[in-house]
Symmetry: C2
Subunit: 262 residues, 2 copies
DNA sequence: GGCCTCAATG
DNA sequence: CATTGAGGCC
């Protein structure tokens, strides 16, 4: 069975109801992983998805910030929610897919503005978060797919200007190195670059603050899909739906879509 | 010349852009008086009206609350803004119409929840406001039209239940008496009841809090158009556009429309 | 129930 | 620039 899996930092699932419906109608993924749902589980708009067949729902939300969810038309087994930093932030939810693969949906902290552990505690929290994920990855022994908003653009070609962003949180060497250690800890395969090889254009995020996001095109690749090395051969296709950035009332991130034999 | 004059408590002119356009397109009034525009003059959406021919604009707005405006396709002379209570609240703007009539656009304070001068200063402020308008009306010597949200429903048939609202701010005897004195001070003719005689249905406001405003129909007549006695004969028609309450993202008030020979 | 501001966060 | 929610007001 080939599964079609989408991942999207939606920047509020409630504010994005019209366009998440459009995505489901146009792409018909089997599974949708969301980040930044920004809503408590009790008032998650589950009917919106249920009415389209996504009756299997794993939620890990909180009041105002963060929040992740997995919505699926195929049965899922709940595989728990990690709180790697034990701070109560809703940044992960996991599932076991039909066929046995594990699916991990993650929202890594943004890290604030100043790339300095001393001056900006949020930057330290981000690095610590990645470190804890690294420890966790080292012990992982099952074939796993990990997707989400990692808030780090690792390669030079993953940002509109490597030079301009060297000191901008999301592309600093210290973050890139931390992400590299995370990747090595399990031998994670970067599917974004397996299917769209560097230096090909592969942005997943454009700031809201640009007057014309498409014209200035100052994008970054912050969203990722990675898999265990032994299942990399089973991935069939991977796409970044850049056009969604131009939809009505868009998220600043666009959806990623993967097809994989499960 | 017959002038078609509309008055509407719009509850934020910015939030109501789509439906104020619809009102202008459907009714084509010569003059539109707005209350509760909730916007400073500097960022009033004047183009929205200008593009439809309402190039004559008298504004009296403030940051968050209150705010009134007169938008006109026929020339207006500015006739000043009263601040009867000298508290800086933007609750009045006046104009002189072609033909010489005066037009006064007023937003009387709502008065808070508790109908008690001691316990609720806002209730006292409302009564004081009406009193000061009364003193002003006594001295009025010109043919005048006064329109707006008076926040008082004077007659028993002006509310969905006289008994249930006797102790509810907007229909208490003390407010109704104060409004009566204001009316007597100039001999103001209540055009709402001249053209739609009591006890005919004549609500202009339905709470947002009702689940189904039309089904429960707990309306009140809070909005009014009054004129000097010597010009009452010149009014041609008067309507309350109840259907606007059912429009998309409505105001809780509906527009009133008057035709008068000016 | 809806509108407004404001302070966070991204 | 765009979200959320708190608090005030109607």
């Amino acid at each position: 069975m080939t599964l079609k899996i989408a991942s999207w930092n939606i920047n509020s699932v409630r504010a994005r109801a019209p366009i998440v419906e459009r995505l489901l109608d146009e792409e018909q993924p089997d599974i949708l992983c969301l980040q930044e749902t920004k809503v408590m589980d009790g008032i998650f708009p589950g009917d919106l998805f249920r009415s389209r067949g996504y009756v299997h729902q794993l939620l890990n939300g909180q009041k105002m910030h963060h929040g992740v969810a997995i919505l699926s038309r195929v049965p899922l087994a709940d595989h728990g929610k990690h709180d790697w930093q034990d701070n109560g932030e809703a940044r992960h939810v996991g599932a076991r897919l039909p066929g046995g693969l594990r699916l991990e949906n993650v929202y890594i902290p943004a890290g604030g503005d100043v790339p300095d552990r001393e001056k900006n505690p949020k930057f330290g929290q981000k690095l610590d978060f990645v470190e804890r994920m690294t420890r966790w990855s080292e012990k992982l022994a099952e074939p796993t797919l990990i997707v989400g908003d990692f808030n780090i653009a690792p390669l030079e070609c993953d940002v509109w200007s490597h030079k301009a962003l060297l000191d901008i949180v999301s592309h600093t060497p210290i973050e890139v190195e931390a992400l590299g250690r995370l990747q090595d800890a399990h031998g994670w395969v970067d599917l974004g670059r397996r299917h769209i090889p560097a230096p090909e254009r592969n942005f997943t995020w454009w700031s809201y603050r640009a007057i014309d996001w498409a014209a200035s095109d100052r994008g970054r690749r912050l969203d990722h899909m990675w898999c265990s090395p032994e299942i990399a051969e089973r991935t069939r296709s991977h796409r970044v739906l850049e056009s969604c950035r131009g939809w009505e009332r868009p998220s600043d991130h666009v959806p990623l879509i993967l097809e994989i034999d499960a």
